[in-house]
């Protein structure tokens, strides 16, 4: 089992007010799965993703990642896991401004402690998302769909086991969104585990399993039958 959550609780304390965001969540994800976490806003789905992605520590509960109990991990060890074994794709792309596409993709490598091969690995990642030609563009000179593909290349560059995508199509038009979903499907086919957070049913149906969360509790966890699954095709965008 790649990811195993047991009785995960997350509370936010603000003064005297305690907000219980996750209440006793149990969730297991196997390697190679494509899981969509669904739920209305405020349901705790983002918090769940952040917890699984080591961006946030649970208030209580056990989290086994690749068989290791992560509770005792230091911040630096968690940073190492985020760097090497996890890739993030965010709704708002989060590319560094005033920085080239190539440098953006290289960023995780620079924090990886690896000594060399930055550029060739970053180029390879960009080619795999179909942006091999745009590596020297500035991050603000490309379209939204391209930005998200750069972000995917950045998530891939350290060759992680899991990719977390938080509403990856939320800021995109349908064509660009389809391309992004197609890339995620391809990555899943290659064997990577994908955890997708969305409130959009159509997007969620790309996954082979949908976990629904409401008020901090998992209320439904089902496999998507092949007949229901949606597959996106890469849609070539017309050049600007």
């Amino acid at each position: 089992m790649l990811i195993e959550l047991k009785n995960i609780v997350k509370n936010y304390v603000n003064g005297d007010v305690v907000t219980r965001v996750l209440r006793d969540v149990d969730l297991s994800v196997d390697e190679g799965e494509f899981v969509a976490i669904m739920g209305p806003s405020g349901s705790g789905k983002s918090t769940l993703m952040h917890t699984i992605g080591f961006l946030d520590r649970p208030t209580s509960g056990t989290y086994l990642f690749d068989g290791e109990n992560t509770q005792s991990f230091t911040d630096d060890e968690l940073a190492r896991i985020r760097n090497k074994r996890i890739g993030f794709v965010f709704q708002s792309f989060n590319l560094l401004p005033r920085t080239s596409v190539l440098d953006n993709v290289m960023l995780p490598l620079l924090y990886s402690g690896d000594k060399s091969g930055y550029e060739s690995r970053a180029k390879k990642a960009l080619e795999s998302v179909g942006l091999g030609e745009r590596i020297h563009f500035m991050s603000n000179q490309i379209s939204g769909g391209q930005k998200q593909r750069v972000a995917i290349a950045r998530a891939l560059v350290c060759d992680p086991k899991v990719i977390f995508a938080d509403e990856p199509t939320g800021n995109l038009d349908s064509k660009s969104g389809a391309t992004v979903m197609h890339i995620l499907e391809e990555l899943n086919k290659e064997g990577r585990t994908i955890i997708l957070v969305t409130h959009d049913k159509q997007v969620a149906l790309h996954a082979n399993r949908i976990v629904t969360i409401r008020d901090g509790k998992i209320v439904e966890d089902r496999l998507v039958p092949n007949s229901e699954r949606v597959h996106s095709k890469e849609i070539k965008e017309e050049e600007e």
Partner: protein, 421 residues
């Protein structure tokens, strides 16, 4: 360490160049002042060195001095009977004589020597009067002193011995009295005597109202016998063959003078002997004190500048919270973020420091040009150690004032930082 820290720091600085410049203003002013002070200090030193060397390089200066034992006794009411009891600082010491100068010439390693006295007199030529210093010196002064006679000649030993009424003028007094006309061969009146002008010095240049350019130089014997009615000297300049033996020669001079003045108790020495190094050390001590004071003032500006950098770094950290969160999500450790911001702060202060070094050097250059314009032997020197010091100080300020904002950034929770975007 890979260069990502530097790269990210440069990117940060480039994001707002005008703010960068404003932020480092305090550092610029502080470092600029330090460089200006150090450079002007070196320039002043070069000027003082030139002044002291003007007495003759490799020289020892012998001055009359109130004995330490007398000074100690001053203010003690009832100590009449001894020869020095009535002496005060205002009463001149009258024991240094031409004979002492002649005896000093016989000391090994002494190449030449002259005695000198100074008096103030009214000097008149064709109704133009000036009150100025009359400088009496042995003819040997023309061999020792570095002053150049622009026209005419100096007096010789024969003229000195024979109480000749001849005078060499400083450049400014010559202009004051004679304007554009040629002073050579003309008679000027000094006190009650007419003196023939036989030479005019080149300008030596100096600050302020009094300088050798205003003085009238006459034979020492003439000054003593005809004008002042005395037989003693105020000081003597001894030229050495080998300056490296200056300290040994100084002891020989002291022995000779004590013997001549019948002094056995060193506290009763009525003279002071200073080698060139000792004369310079007085100036250097004063210079060091002034330099220290000005740098102390400049460091206030550096501290204010450092606080400015700290302030802006806090702002920068707040501005880039989202970016910090992203970097942490991508695997940056707290340490990585700390170094990025620390290096950015150090870069800021170094930029300020370098601009300050350039600005301060430029001002020091202007000062040296002004001083040279006034005829001073003032060199433009920017000490390398001052530049190295300035850059190091800039770096240290960057580290000291950058570390707290950088630590704030490093400690940010990745999710808190990401959510702020």
């Amino acid at each position: 360490m890979n260069n990502i820290y530097l790269k990210q720091a440069i990117r940060g600085i480039k994001s707002n160049p005008s703010r960068t410049l404003l932020t480092t203003l305090g550092i610029m002013i502080g470092i600029g002042t330090v460089i200006l002070v150090l450079s002007a200090g070196e320039g002043f030193k070069s000027y003082i060195n030139a002044q002291v060397e003007a007495f003759g390089s490799n020289s020892i200066i012998v001055e009359t001095s109130v004995p330490a034992s007398t000074k100690a006794r001053q203010g003690g009411a009832s100590d009449s009977g001894t020869a020095n009891s009535s002496a005060t600082n205002a009463v001149p010491i009258t024991t240094l004589k031409i004979r002492d100068v002649e005896d000093m010439k016989n000391i090994p390693n002494v190449k030449n020597a002259y005695g000198a006295s100074i008096g103030q007199q009214v000097v008149t030529y064709k109704g133009v009067s000036k009150t100025t210093f009359i400088f009496g010196a042995s003819a040997a002064r023309f061999d020792i002193d570095k002053g150049v006679i622009a026209s005419g000649r100096g007096y010789d030993i024969g003229e000195d011995k024979s109480l000749a009424q001849v005078a060499v003028l400083g450049s400014r007094i010559a202009t004051d009295l004679f304007g554009d006309s040629n002073p050579l061969g003309q008679l000027i009146r000094v006190g009650n005597y007419n003196f023939e002008v036989i030479g005019v010095y080149e300008s030596k240049g100096s600050f302020g109202p009094m300088s050798e350019d205003d003085e009238v130089f006459i034979p020492i014997t003439t000054l003593q016998k005809k004008i002042q009615g005395i037989d003693y000297l105020i000081y003597s300049v001894v030229e050495l063959a080998d300056n490296s033996k200056a300290n040994a020669t100084k002891l020989d001079i002291i022995d000779t003078l004590r013997r001549n003045h019948y002094i056995t108790d060193p506290t009763r020495d009525d003279f002071k002997v200073n080698t060139q190094e000792e004369s310079l050390s007085v100036f250097n001590t004063i210079l060091q004190a002034i330099t220290f004071l000005l740098i102390a003032i400049a460091s206030i500006s550096l501290i204010v500048g450092g606080v400015g950098v700290m302030n802006i770094m806090y702002v920068v950290v707040t501005e880039r919270i989202g970016e910090i969160g992203l970097k942490k999500a991508l695997g940056a450790r707290g340490k990585d973020i700390l170094y990025e911001f620390l290096i950015e702060a150090v870069l800021l202060t170094i930029i300020g420091g370098v601009i300050g070094i350039i600005g301060g050097s430029f001002l020091a250059f202007v000062v040296s040009k002004v001083a040279q314009g006034a005829g001073l032997a003032w060199k433009f020197i920017v000490p390398i150690w001052g530049v190295v010091l300035s850059v190091s100080v800039s770096m240290v300020i960057g580290i000291v004032f950058g570390v707290f904002p950088a630590r704030n950034a490093a400690r940010l929770d990745p999710i808190v930082a990401l959510n702020r975007e």
